[in-house]
Subunit: 295 residues, 2 copies
């Protein structure tokens, strides 16, 4: 089977798991829950929960305590998209071919739906601790989740990005933004999977190394696609970086060097994966796919 | 000593504890951290961390694992104020006599500072679990924190409030909003204190009962003050509820009935406190003070 098809099947399987953790659309809070679920259910490859689950499997994890963490990391990713799209931020009206949350539910509700999803991520991940109180691996996974989503992780990268919009960026600052804004959550996903499955400290370090390279490659690929793709394929307007006068990896390095670097980073990640005793063929394929993806 | 003075001293002591958990204003993320700290340090009585600490003391708690939870609950309260004040929400320019976060740092940064503070609350509370991995009381306290801040707690109340702005509310819906928007976090604070100190299930139920009455009384008192106070005392414009055509406890019940109900609720809370074997005189004074407060 082609890796694209395989990923498609996995996406469906991951979705079946994570939607179980969505709140029911009922009660006085119905509207905000609808807004949360609208955003959460707007598709996507579910890359973060998939990486989390596959890294968990890589190290032999078999329990369902991984599930709430899969849902939680996707909730954090989703809340960040809702807030990114707001008029005060990127002011985007479309995402994955659908109207963004604030366009459908209004700005106030979009802010609150984002807040609610971020909080819900912790409520959800804590389900694992409710099931197994005293499990120290779950405690450590919670700490990883929180740190990778915070100011020294995703939200930190986002603020530096927003603050520097329209200003020229040097490569160091751009790398910093990429590592935090996109990289931190990808690293978090893989590291949580490893920790929950009981990977050794050395194995955790290797996974962290892999995740860093993959995260950076993923973001560079995003920049490439913003230049080379079409709105039909991408589901959102292309060329937005140039319109917003955004410094990107492509604008600094040029498209050819950017493509080469994606290849190099994924190769490094593959080599690190090969150094592990354990194997997960699908995970290797998934990581390599990131350079061929079209959206 | 007068209870006002006593509370003042406690506020200072609580502040000394919680500011230890603020991130340092350095690195590329300096601006968002400044915005977080600006909002966090804008004063207030620190009622929630104080209630948390005093309930912890009531049940004989002596460890410093309570401290990260005190900081965390104040961070959650602060993030909710930042987002409440945004142009898309209440559009308030002043809070506690100072310019609101979005006025000083801009809207995008205020949204992100709120997000960062919410996330930081969990990073901070999880410090307790890092210190004592496997401590099940800490795990339970984390679950209480997350649930009381979420859609079945504070954020849920906030969304129903926002959605019904300008519409007439019946008493049932108003009570629902009050219980969630203000009550949930006060209940969370006291319950976390009780759980961390190892209170029995019965004692936890009593505290929950107390907190519910206090939370509702606190919110009704807010409505009263919006009518009867002055901008100098309150540090924010008064009469905003009437201007925004907001249904409040006062607009439904009238000011006299509202005052009477505050007294009745606090009396009920006091009776529940008296039914406990353990005593904390300052906590009793603090709860009663809520009916005499002027801001």
């Amino acid at each position: 089977m082609d890796i694209r098809q395989e990923i498609g099947i996995h996406t469906k399987q991951v979705e079946e798991i994570i939607i179980k953790y969505l709140p029911k659309e009922e009660g006085y809070q119905k509207t905000v829950i609808e807004a949360m679920n609208y955003s959460f259910l707007s598709g996507g490859k579910r890359l973060r929960p998939m990486l989390l689950q596959e890294t968990y499997r890589l190290f032999g994890g078999k329990s369902d305590i991984v599930e709430p963490f899969m849902a939680a990391i996707e909730m954090i990713h989703t809340y960040s998209l809702i807030h990114d799209d707001l008029p005060a931020m990127d002011n985007d009206e479309y995402r994955r071919g659908r109207k963004t949350t604030h366009v459908v539910y209004g700005e106030a509700m979009a802010i609150l739906a984002g807040d609610a999803l971020l909080n819900c991520a912790y409520e959800t991940a804590l389900e694992a601790l409710k099931k197994e109180p005293g499990n120290v691996q779950i405690g450590r996974a919670l700490c990883i989740l929180a740190s990778r989503a915070g100011i020294y992780g995703m939200v930190g990268g986002q603020t530096v990005d927003v603050e520097n919009e329209g200003k020229p960026l040097d490569k160091e600052k751009l790398n910093f933004i990429y590592e935090l804004k996109t990289g931190a959550l990808i690293e978090g996903a893989m590291l949580i999977g490893a920790v929950l499955a009981g990977a050794t400290k050395n194995e955790q370090n290797t996974i962290q190394e892999v995740a860093r390279n993959v995260g950076l490659a993923f973001q560079i690929q995003d920049d490439i696609l913003d230049v080379t793709s079409t709105m039909e394929v991408l589901g959102k307007p292309i060329g937005s970086d140039e319109r917003n006068e955004k410094t990107t990896y492509v604008s600094i390095e040029g498209i050819e060097k950017a493509r080469e670097d994606v290849r190099r980073l994924i190769q490094k990640a593959s080599q690190s994966m090969d150094s592990l005793v354990v194997k997960n063929e699908f995970l290797n394929g998934l990581l390599e796919y990131l350079i061929y993806r079209e959206k």
